[in-house]
């Protein structure tokens, strides 16, 4: 009580516990608490209440996200696509205008590639921060991983090696494509940077799609397609790092 504080209110005590004060105000409250045991006691019980909540619920942040929740977001197509596609198909059969078929296919493929970019980026955002469960099968069982993913996807899934670029395999997991299983492989370099390779084989068309780089705030992604297989390589890496990695991947798994 030797110091001169601007009046400390009950709200200040709560705000102090909840970390809502500026550093300078928090320091004032700390000093006040040293001189006022009753208030310090109050603050301590609020802390205990918050700690109980954190102890119970913070683990949820590290749990793997249920696939259905990710699908809720990513499997929704822009609402106009289906009606427009249906209208186009109707016109095609009606008029036999083959150029419309091409247009329709082109846009379906464009949608598919955009989805591939979204799913790859989302997979990166969801799984790369994982400490405990980044993958379902770790790299020490990479043969099993390859066999398992190949079996589920009914396509040989080879695991590319990116050691030349400083990235080692962490492992992989099964993902959802549109209706069929897809695969995710995760890599990590010596600085702990990760990237993920999302692979699906249920693309609507068989036409190859050229490599395309897209940047976003959270992560960047390179997508491409060949033989009905779609690939997305995503990570918080610059284009100059991501593109060579994508090329290295392509060289090893597409022919």
């Amino acid at each position: 009580m030797t110091k001169n504080f601007s009046a400390v209110t009950t709200d200040d005590l709560h705000a102090y516990v909840d970390g809502q004060l500026s550093t300078s105000r928090a320091a004032e409250i700390e000093a006040y608490l040293r001189d006022h045991p009753a208030a310090a006691d109050e603050v301590e019980s609020y802390r205990i209440i918050n700690a109980a909540l954190r102890a119970e619920y913070d683990d949820v942040l590290n749990e793997p996200i249920p696939t259905r929740l990710v699908s809720t977001i990513l499997d929704r197509r822009p609402r106009f696509v289906l009606p427009v596609a249906a209208a186009l198909v109707g016109m095609v059969f009606g008029a036999g205008l083959t150029w419309i078929v091409q247009q329709a296919n082109l846009s379906t493929e464009r949608v598919a590639m955009a989805e591939l970019a979204e799913k790859s980026t989302a997979a990166y955002l969801v799984y790369a921060p994982e400490e405990l469960h980044p993958v379902e099968v770790f790299a020490d069982q990479s043969d099993h991983l390859s066999a398992w993913l190949s079996k589920r996807m009914k396509t040989p899934i080879r695991i590319p090696r990116l050691a030349d670029l400083g990235f080692e395999l962490v492992g992989g997991r099964l993902m959802v494509g549109d209706f069929r299983p897809a695969a995710l492989l995760m890599y990590q370099n010596g600085q702990g940077q990760r990237m993920v390779l999302y692979v699906r084989n249920d693309l609507p068309g068989k036409d190859p799609a050229v490599m395309r780089y897209q940047g976003a705030n959270e992560a960047n992604v390179v997508t491409w397609a060949s033989d009905g297989m779609g690939y997305g390589l995503a990570g918080a890496l610059a284009e100059k790092d991501l593109l060579p990695a994508a090329q290295l991947v392509r060289a090893q798994i597409s022919f």
Binding site: A38, S45, I48, A51, Y57, V60, L69, A122
Partner: protein, 175 residues
């Protein structure tokens, strides 16, 4: 849309945590998250990027939760938790650790208004202004509910000793 969707995905863990604290049941919580995401996608045009995505999503989720809670009370005429108000935790005051569970049970017994605030502020690290927005109340109301809720918890958990002059509470620390 591409960037917005990935932003939404990145919010899922936080939505799940808030939902878990509201429902205290993993399946009910994930159903709530799913409903919340669907509604958010339908109304994405209403989101103003300046407002922050998380508070907006939490607002949707809280409204859904309250609606469902109300419906359940009406249709099944079940007692809500606050109607079940148990007597204050009694028995030999334990000298040491009180499990986090006990704290949570007492939070469940708070009146809905106070429980909402204690949970939202305690679990989710929103600013007070954002939390008030989520609950649709003025910040002053938020603060008074927060205080009443926490004061009641102190009392019921035996943390507020009568003289309150820093004498032994039953709880020293939680885990």
């Amino acid at each position: 849309m591409f960037r917005n969707r990935t932003k939404l995905v990145a919010e899922i863990p936080h939505l799940r945590r808030y939902a878990r604290s509201l429902t205290r049941d993993q399946h009910a919580a994930d159903d709530l998250v799913q409903n919340c995401l669907e509604r958010a996608l339908n109304r994405f045009h209403q989101w103003q990027p300046g407002r922050g995505l998380r508070p907006w999503l939490f607002t949707i989720m809280h409204n859904l939760f309250i609606d469902a809670h109300r419906r359940a009370r009406h249709s099944r005429d079940i007692l809500s938790l606050e109607d079940l108000h148990a007597p204050p935790a009694q028995g030999a005051p334990q000298e040491h650790h009180l499990a986090a569970r006990t704290v949570l049970q007492e939070i469940d017994l708070l009146p809905q208004e106070q429980r909402d605030v204690v949970l939202l502020v305690g679990v989710n690290e929103l600013s007070y202004a954002e939390a008030a927005m989520v609950l649709g109340i003025p910040q002053g109301t938020l603060m008074s509910r927060l205080h009443r809720g926490r004061a009641k918890l102190r009392e019921r958990l035996g943390m507020a000793s009568p003289g309150s002059d820093g004498r032994p509470s039953r709880i020293h620390r939680v885990k």
